[in-house]
């Protein structure tokens, strides 16, 4: 079996996460909305415990965590959920960046269809958007700014601290898609100016199918979101449906470990990175995105003279990598992220993304080098 180097697509579950999930599937299977007996009460206790564990990662309050099916749903709720507030207040200007995930860009397209004006900020060749461009773009009728924390393809950390200063005195909602950085880069998301944070369980060694929208309260009020679905009133009326207690408890466990083991995990990823960089540099690989701001578990490179699709196929028995985000790789469309960073189409065609974690075993890099050199002929 090839060694899995696609952790930005999804991560393996921590053993203790799997154990918690199984517990709430097999033994403690009560419905958290039925606290009329111990089964339901314990399920509710587990949900509230997980809510606290997730909140702790970003120093939010427990009542600011809305459980969803994952970051895609959270992004949709954060963006489309503000439509009514924008229409009622007459604020119809929205800002985002060119390197956002489709789960942000497509809700913005929908907002455009609803009559909102969408402004998309460009990014620089280092993979980061320019905060000054954001400052210039803000208007009196801006409703929402949505910026990702870490890009899923390049692994580049975005300048959120600078954004916080820029929007500090503006009456706008600020949403951060933190699917790739939550639980990994801790400090940024603790900034109290960030109103809305989208997260996913399966990017932090938790289960798939669960995530959260963290919505910080102001004067004890949630941002003026409207639910996208109706029927049940769960999650403070914002996300109806029976809570998947097993997934939520698993997400809580993953969040707990993300804080507890943060330094140790990053250290292991940095050690792995040194080996990966050494091997790929020997092949003349060019890193996409500046190393200074790239998280230690991601490496996006263009390999001169080697087509990425051929490389991925040739390497499939040694390492499992991808050429773009999991959500677009099946469509074989060129990366909009690398294109926005100004890469020539040829360089985009030569790009591969490697992403690992603290549980990734050692790779035989000599074998990888040999395969890639053979491809180059």
């Amino acid at each position: 079996m090839a060694i899995y180097l696609d952790c930005n697509a999804t991560t393996p579950a921590e053993p203790s996460v799997a154990s918690v999930v199984m517990r709430f599937l097999e033994k403690d299977f009560g419905n958290a909305a039925s606290p009329i007996h111990d089964y339901g009460v314990f399920a509710l206790a587990a949900v509230e415990h997980a809510r606290g564990q997730v909140a702790e990662v970003v120093r939010a309050r427990r009542d600011e965590v809305i459980f969803t099916s994952g970051a895609t749903e959270s992004n949709n709720l954060a963006i489309l959920g503000l439509a009514e507030a924008g229409i009622q207040s007459g604020r119809r200007h929205l800002i985002t960046t060119a390197i956002e995930h489709k789960a942000v860009l497509e809700p913005f397209e929908e907002m455009s269809r609803l009559g909102f004006e969408v402004q998309i900020l460009p990014v620089k060749t280092d993979g980061r958007f320019d905060p000054e461009r954001l400052a210039d773009a803000l208007r009196h009728d801006t409703l929402l700014v949505s910026t990702m924390q870490v890009n899923n393809e390049s692994g580049v950390l975005q300048p959120l601290a600078e954004v916080a200063e820029i929007v500090a005195n503006h009456d706008i909602w600020w949403h951060v898609d933190a699917a790739q950085g939550f639980g990994k880069e801790l400090e940024q998301l603790r900034h109290p100016r960030i109103d809305l944070i989208s997260i996913s369980g399966h990017k932090i060694y938790g289960p798939k199918g669960v995530g959260a929208l963290i919505a910080r309260k102001h004067d004890r009020q949630l941002p003026p979101l409207r639910p996208l679905m109706l029927g049940g009133g769960q999650e403070q009326g914002l996300r109806p449906g029976t809570l998947p207690v097993h997934l939520i408890a698993g997400l809580g466990e993953a969040a707990k470990l993300a804080v507890r083991n943060n330094g140790e995990r990053a250290e292991k990823c940095r050690a792995f990175r040194e080996q990966a960089l050494a091997a790929l540099s020997a092949l003349g690989a060019v890193q996409n995105g500046t190393e200074e701001y790239t998280l230690p578990h991601v490496l996006n490179v263009s390999l001169p003279g080697i087509n990425s699709e051929q490389a991925i196929k040739a390497l499939k028995n040694v390492i499992a990598v991808s050429s773009t985000s999991a959500c677009t790789s099946h469509t074989h469309t060129p990366s909009h992220v690398l294109a926005a960073m100004g890469l020539a189409p040829e360089k985009v065609e030569q790009s591969i993304r490697l992403s690992w974690c603290h549980m990734t075993p050692a790779v035989y890099w000599n074998e990888v080098e040999t395969i890639l050199r053979a491809l180059r002929g």
Partner: protein, 83 residues
């Protein structure tokens, strides 16, 4: 494994000494915290208990929403620990 029990003891003493946790509730929690061997395998419940003691609020049930833990929550978790 003993870290979570140590944390339970610390947070319970803190809440009893400086906040509103009553003695009748602190005492049985401290019995659990100081007997880790008796509760081996029940660490998940101990974690819940830590959170409940840390966020203990006499008036948790007051108001429209319950976003703190009260004595009923802690008593219930203590009962689950004995089952």
């Amino acid at each position: 494994m003993n870290d979570i029990f140590r944390e339970l003891e610390e947070v319970t003493v803190e809440q009893y000494d400086h906040y509103d946790l009553p003695k009748w509730l602190a005492d049985p929690v401290l019995v659990v915290a100081r007997n880790p061997d008796a509760y081996r395998g029940k660490e998940y419940l101990i974690e819940i208990l830590v959170a409940q003691v840390r966020e203990y609020d006499v008036y948790a049930e007051a108001g429209c929403c319950k976003w703190a833990y009260d004595h009923e929550d802690i008593k219930r978790t203590l009962r689950w620990l004995e089952e």
